[in-house]
C-alpha cells in the first residue's frame, strides 16, 4: 500500500525562527530550488511518519498575504493554488499582535491551520506567559509552544499534522472569524453574492476574495477582470468602497486592517497574562551601542574585520589543499589518458578551469558561514540600517553592502546571488552591476605581482590600500551614475526594516544555510564553467604552432601562445591598447583574464617563457617584469587600473545574466560598458603620467 501524502506549508513573518522550526521538523534532507519566474528560494523536504509521507514546504516570510513583494505573492499563490493539507503558522509569541494579523488572513483562506507559538522564552523574559489552551479554544486551532533555539517536541507536532491532515473535514468546524462590523459585512455579502455567480471565482474562498477586493488588492482585481460578470463586480466594488469611506471617513483598506488588528489585540489580551517581573532586555543594551550615532560605523567595521579574519585564516590551508588535490587529480588523469589533444582538453581545459573556480570553495563556504551567523543572530539588519545612511547617497540600498562585501576579497558570484535579499528591481540591478568591480580574491595575485614589481616594500601596503580606496570610489561612482541615468525613473525600495531581537543561532541552522548557499555557488559556477573552460582552452591551444625541437619547453609554450587564436587576437588589439601603455602580450593576458582573473598571472608567465607560475610564488615573473623594457611603473599602474575595471570574469557574467532575468541589454552594458570605462580610466592615468613624466 502506498503511503498517503500530506503537504505541509510553513508560513510566518520574516525573522521569527521559521526556518529553525523547519530544520527541526525535517532534518537535513532538504531540497532548495527556485520558484518559477521569481528569485525566491523554495525549500522542500519530506519525511515519513506513521505510514504517511509528509512533505514540508518552507514558504518565504511575509507580513501579510498581499501582492506587494515577491515573497508575499509566492506565499499566497502557494496557499491558494496548491492547497496544502496543513498550514503551520509560526507566531512570534513576543510580538503576537502583528503575527496574528497574518493569521487572520490565512484563516480566511479556509485551510486547516496549526499554530506554532515560537520564542516563548523571550515572552517569559518580558514577564508574561501565553496560555496555549485558551488560545487553542479561542481560535479553534491546535497550538504548540516551541523555543526555536532548543529542541522541539517534534513527535507531538507530527501527530497533530497527521491528525489534521486525516480529518480535514473535521477541521472545518466553525472557527472564529474576524468581525468586520455590520457595514463592511453588508458590503462583503453583496460582493460574495456576485462572486458566486461566476464559475471560476466561486472556487476561491469567497469571503477572502471579497475582503481583498475591498482592500484594493491588485492580484484579486486581476482575477475579477477575467470573470464573466466583471463590470457588475467592479461597479459594486467601487460602490462599496465609497460607502465605507463615507461611513468611517477612512479608506476601506485602513478600516479592514484596523478591524484585523482589533481582533488580534483582543486575542492577545485574553491569551497573554502578566506573571512576573520584566527582566533586563539584552537586545536594548546591545542596540544602544551597535546603533549608536558615533559607535555604529566603527562597530560595523570591526565586525567586518572579524568576518574577514575568520574566513581567511581558516580557509588558507584548505584552499591550498584543494589546489594540491586538483593538481594531483590532473596528474593522475594525465597518466591514464594517452598524450594528445584529448589529454590536453581534459587536464588543462576541464580540470584546470573547474579547479580554478572550485579552489575558492572553502573560502566561499567559510564566508557564508560567518555571514549566516551574523544574519541569524540579527546583526545584519542593524548593519544595513547603519550603512543605509552612507549607501543611500550613492543610489544604493542599505542592504547592498552585503553583496559588495562578499565580493571584496571574496568572489563576485556569491555577491551577485546575495542581491536576492534586495526588494526592488532597481536596487538589485545597481548592486549586481557594481559587485563585479570590487577587488575579488582572484584579482589579488595580479595586484600583488605588479605592485611587488614596481614599488619598494615600504610603499607596497600604501599602494594596495590606495587601490582599494580607488576601487570603492569607482564602484560608488558607477552606482551613482547608473542611478541618475539608466535607472532614474525606477524608484528605490523604501527603507522600512524590522530589527529583530538578538538571539543565538543554532549550529544546525548555520550549517544548513552555509551548505545551501555554497552548493548553489558550485552548481551555478559548475554548469557554465565546464563549457567556458573548454572554449578558453581551445582558443589558447589552437591552431598548433609548427614543431621546433631546438626550443626548450617553456619557449615552446610561449611560441604556441603567440601562434594561437588568442595570441593573434592580442596582436590585432595592440594598436587599440597602445594609448593606454600596453602591448600585445598584455592584451593576451587580459583576454585570458576574461576566463578567470587569476589566469592573468599564469598567462603572463607563459608569455615571458618562465614556465609554470603559481599565484603564491611569482618571484621570477616579478623580476622579469621589473627589469623588462616593455614595462614601467606607470604602465604597471595603468595595467592595474584596467584590470580593476574591465569586463568581469565569465562566471560572474553568466550569473549576472541569469539573475537579471536573461537580459541581453544589461549583459552588453556590463561587458562593453565596463571595458570602455576601463580604457578611458587607464588612458587618463597613462597620458597624464606621460605628460607629467611620472614613473615613465
Amino acid at each position: 500500500m502506498a503511503n498517503k501524502n500530506i503537504i505541509v506549508a510553513l508560513v510566518g513573518n520574516p525573522n521569527i525562527g521559521k526556518s529553525t522550526i523547519f530544520n527541526g521538523l525535517t532534518g537535513s534532507n532538504q531540497h532548495v530550488g527556485n520558484y518559477p519566474g521569481v528569485t525566491v528560494e523554495k525549500k522542500e523536504s519530506s519525511k515519513s511518519y506513521k505510514g504517511y509521507d509528509i512533505t514540508f514546504i518552507d514558504l518565504p516570510g511575509a507580513y501579510s498575504l498581499s501582492a506587494y513583494s515577491d515573497d508575499e505573492v509566492v506565499t499566497r499563490d502557494f496557499l491558494l493554488d496548491e492547497k496544502p493539507d496543513v498550514v503551520i503558522n509560526v507566531i512570534d509569541a513576543a510580538n503576537m499582535e502583528r503575527n496574528l494579523y497574518l493569521f487572520t488572513q490565512i484563516m480566511e483562506l479556509d485551510v486547516p491551520v496549526i499554530i506554532a507559538l515560537n520564542m516563548v522564552d523571550i515572552l517569559e523574559s518580558h514577564g508574561k506567559t501565553a496560555d496555549k489552551k485558551a488560545m487553542s479554544d479561542l481560535l479553534g486551532v491546535p497550538v504548540f509552544a516551541t523555543i526555536a533555539s532548543r529542541a522541539i517536541r517534534i513527535v507531538d507536532i507530527l501527530d497533530c499534522i497527521v491528525n489534521v491532515g486525516e480529518n480535514a473535514k473535521l477541521q472545518n468546524r466553525t472557527r472564529i472569524k474576524v468581525d468586520y462590523g455590520e457595514d463592511i459585512k453588508e458590503e462583503t455579502d453583496k460582493l460574495e453574492n456576485l462572486i458566486s455567480k461566476d464559475s471560476r471565482l466561486s472556487k476561491l474562498p469567497k469571503r477572502w476574495l471579497s475582503i481583498k477586493l475591498l482592500d484594493g488588492d491588485t492580484l484579486a482585481l486581476k482575477l475579477v477582470c477575467e470573470a464573466d460578470n466583471k463590470t457588475e463586480i467592479l461597479k459594486q466594488i467601487e460602490k462599496s468602497r465609497n460607502h465605507i469611506k463615507e461611513h468611517f471617513g477612512r479608506e476601506a483598506k485602513t478600516e479592514i486592517a484596523n478591524k484585523r488588528y482589533g481582533f488580534a489585540n483582543s486575542v492577545v489580551k485574553t491569551v497573554v497574562k502578566r506573571t512576573g517581573q520584566e527582566k533586563i532586555d539584552v537586545t536594548e543594551i546591545i542596540d544602544n551601542f551597535v546603533l549608536n550615532r558615533y559607535l555604529g560605523i566603527p562597530i560595523f567595521a570591526a565586525v567586518m574585520h572579524i568576518i574577514f579574519k575568520f574566513t581567511f585564516t581558516l580557509s588558507g590551508p584548505m584552499v591550498k589543499l584543494f589546489g594540491l588535490f586538483f593538481k594531483w587529480f590532473g596528474e593522475t588523469v594525465a597518466k591514464i589518458i594517452p598524450d594528445g589533444p584529448v589529454r590536453s582538453l581534459v587536464v588543462d581545459g576541464i580540470i584546470g578551469g573547474v579547479g580554478g573556480v572550485l579552489g575558492f570553495f572553502p573560502l566561499v563556504m567559510l564566508m557564508f558561514f560567518a555571514i549566516a551567523f551574523f544574519e541569524d543572530s540579527g546583526y545584519m539588519a542593524r548593519a544595513a540600517f547603519v550603512m543605509d545612511k552612507i549607501m543611500s547617497r550613492f543610489g544604493l540600498h542599505g542592504k547592498s553592502f552585503l553583496p559588495l562585501m562578499l565580493s571584496t576579497n571574496g568572489c563576485a558570484v556569491p555577491g551577485i546571488l546575495a542581491t536576492r535579499t534586495l526588494d526592488s528591481k532597481r536596487d538589485r540591478l545597481i548592486t549586481m552591476f557594481v559587485v563585479p568591480f570590487m577587488i575579488c580574491g582572484a584579482k589579488l595575485p595580479v595586484f600583488a605581482l605588479i605592485i611587488g614589481a614596481f614599488f619598494s616594500a615600504r610603499y607596497q601596503t600604501g599602494v594596495m590600500f590606495f587601490m582599494y580606496f580607488l576601487n570603492v570610489v569607482i564602484a560608488l561612482s558607477i552606482a551613482k551614475l547608473l542611478s541618475v541615468t539608466v535607472l532614474l525613473k525606477e524608484t528605490s525600495a523604501h527603507f522600512v526594516m524590522e530589527l529583530p531581537p538578538y538571539h543565538l543561532p543554532t549550529i544546525k541552522g548555520l550549517f544548513l544555510k552555509m551548505w545551501e548557499r555554497s552548493w548553489l555557488y558550485v552548481r551555478k559556477a559548475g554548469t557554465v564553467i565546464v563549457l567556458i573552460s573548454i572554449l578558453i582552452w581551445a582558443v589558447f591551444a589552437y591552431p598548433k604552432a609548427p614543431v621546433n625541437e631546438s626550443l626548450t619547453k617553456a619557449e615552446k609554450a610561449a611560441a604556441q601562445l603567440e601562434y594561437s587564436i588568442a595570441g593573434r587576437a592580442g596582436k590585432i588589439l595592440e594598436p587599440l591598447l597602445k594609448p593606454i601603455g600596453m602591448d600585445g602580450n598584455r592584451a593576451i593576458a587580459l583576454i585570458a583574464g576574461f576566463a578567470a582573473k587569476e589566469v592573468i598571472v599564469s598567462t603572463l608567465g607563459t608569455i615571458y617563457s618562465i614556465g609554470e607560475v603559481g599565484s603564491e610564488d611569482a618571484r621570477p615573473l616579478r623580476e622579469k617584469i621589473a627589469t623588462s623594457k616593455d614595462w614601467s611603473p606607470l604602465k604597471g599602474v595603468a595595467f592595474l587600473i584596467f584590470c580593476l575595471i574591465y569586463a568581469p570574469c565569465v562566471v560572474s557574467v553568466m550569473v549576472f545574466f541569469k539573475e537579471t532575468g536573461s537580459s541581453y541589454k544589461w549583459l552588453a552594458l556590463l561587458i562593453i560598458g565596463s571595458t570602455v570605462f576601463a580604457w578611458i580610466a587607464s588612458f587618463i592615468v597613462f597620458q597624464l603620467g606621460m605628460l607629467l613624466k611620472i614613473g615613465v
Binding site: S66, Y68, T254, K389, F495, E498, L499
Partner: protein, 114 residues
Amino acid sequence: MMEYLKKAIKRGYEYWHKRWIKAHFQNYKAFDSCLKYNGMAKLSDAGPGVYRFVIAYCDDNKLGHRLLEMGFVPGEYLTVIENTGLKGSVMVKVKGSKIALSNKIADKILLKRE
C-alpha cells in the same frame, strides 16, 4: 597671513559645525509648535517620545500597505526611540517590534500627540 588663515579655518569650522548641528539635532521646538497649532507633525522632526500615528502620505500604494501590515494603523501608539536627523533614519517601536525607517519615509508620516 597667519591671521587670515586662522580666520578662514574658524569660518570653515563654524560652517560645518552649524551644518552638523542642523543634521543631527532637529529643531524640536518647531516640531512642538507644529503639534500645538496643527495638531499633527512629521515623524522626521520628532524627538524621542510617545506619539500616535495618524497617516502616511505616499504616492504609491506599496509603501502605505507595507506600513499597514507592519502595524502602522491610525491611532496606534508609536514610540520614537532615536532620530538621527537629516539624511539619517528614524527608529520607532510599533506593536512591540523595532522598526527602522529612512528619513524619506519618515517625512511622509504624520503624528499626533498621545
